[in-house]
Symmetry: none
């Protein structure tokens, strides 16, 4: 399971984990019934405190995204189906809107923004992929 933590702005670590698991489930990369890494394992991999991972898993559990089997591990809920493309896009709506608002305030139109989007995307693909270490 691919999870990247970055000390990005002010987003709490546990929140980043929650978001990313949700995204992996929404895109079908994590299928219902699939097992998530044990709390301690993921904590070690990300070099963060196990309590932080536990909090993320707990939130995912109350949200119904995952289910914990006490002594056996944590699994993607059987009811957590992948989302259609349009809904996945909708998950980004708020941030897109905020971006558009800021761009407008900067005197940039949507085409400039779209162009820049492609440019940055090209960069990402060239880079050797930097590690998301904290």
């Amino acid at each position: 399971m691919q999870i990247q933590i970055s000390p990005q702005e002010g987003v709490p670590i546990y929140q980043q984990i929650v978001n990313q698991v949700r995204h992996l489930v929404a895109s079908g990369r994590l299928a219902p019934g699939e097992e998530l890494p044990p709390i301690r394992v993921l904590a070690e991999r990300l070099t963060i405190n196990p309590n932080t991972v536990a909090r993320a898993y707990r939130e995912l559990e109350v949200a119904g995204v995952v289910a914990k089997r006490r002594t056996s591990g944590t699994y993607v809920s059987s009811g957590a189906a992948p989302m259609p493309r349009s809904e996945r896009l909708a998950l980004l709506a708020d941030r897109i809107d905020a971006l558009l608002a800021d761009a407008e305030q900067l005197g940039l139109d949507v085409e400039a923004l779209a162009g820049y989007l492609r440019e940055r995307d090209a960069c990402r693909r060239e880079e050797p992929a930097k590690e998301g270490v904290r």
Copy 2:
């Protein structure tokens, strides 16, 4: 001066003000020498605590974006020139990158994202502009 506050997730109010003033200056909508609204006036308009506006102005001052003239008010620094388009785009780089990373994790490619960007932009222009007040 057009400033919109939204209780959006976790972005601090003072930070929103700082960003927006920076943007207005970068785009040339606020010209060097121009006067900003007095703290109390802006606070009342946005219905927020005057301390919050004061903090934003203070940060803008130490950043050299604005200058306070003792008894008379707050003005855009004479050294605060509008930025070229490329630099203005660069201000959005971090958020663009984060967006691309999330989109990828959602299994969405850059073209889907660009398309959605245009779609949301169209929505914005139709709407009567919702109030950004608290």
Copy 3:
């Protein structure tokens, strides 16, 4: 606000707080808009760790029972109306059922249980009320 913690069986402390706040709200003893004690204050009063109280308050928040105003405190949600008597009784249904099951297994009928209930209740009222300290 009256909250009692007891190292009773295995019920986690944070859970006891959650339950009791819910009950106080359900019975109308805590009215919508009323302020709860600050995390640190309640923690000190119960001589437990502030993190434990914070966890209880957080759960109450996601459940919509209370709302936190970031820098000002924690309040009973305006939408958290008192419940009618029948619903309040229903909150105890699970435990009542478990009790009846156990009583049956002990060869005790419901009347014996009801009688014992009154007897214990009489005791409670006589006692000087023992402290719920941990």
Copy 4:
């Protein structure tokens, strides 16, 4: 031997078994000298891990409620006499007290509680007896 397991809140499975065996002995339904089901048989019947049943039997043994005869099985201790009614009631004292405390916090008096007790009891007797399996 009638034993029902329910994944009720947080009561451990092995504890449920212990309690129920104690209750059956206290009420005289399991007489001294009577044989308990073999570990594997009970485990299979309740569809739980044999280790869990073993743990329950072990606790019952150290408590002197049952005795293991090396090669032959597990039996109710000869010293395990049925308890008088008052003592059986006393076994429920803690839970009764907790219930009364909660009821009081919910603004319900003991009579309301006793009435509800009878009501739930009536329900139990009508129902076809729901399965207590996992």
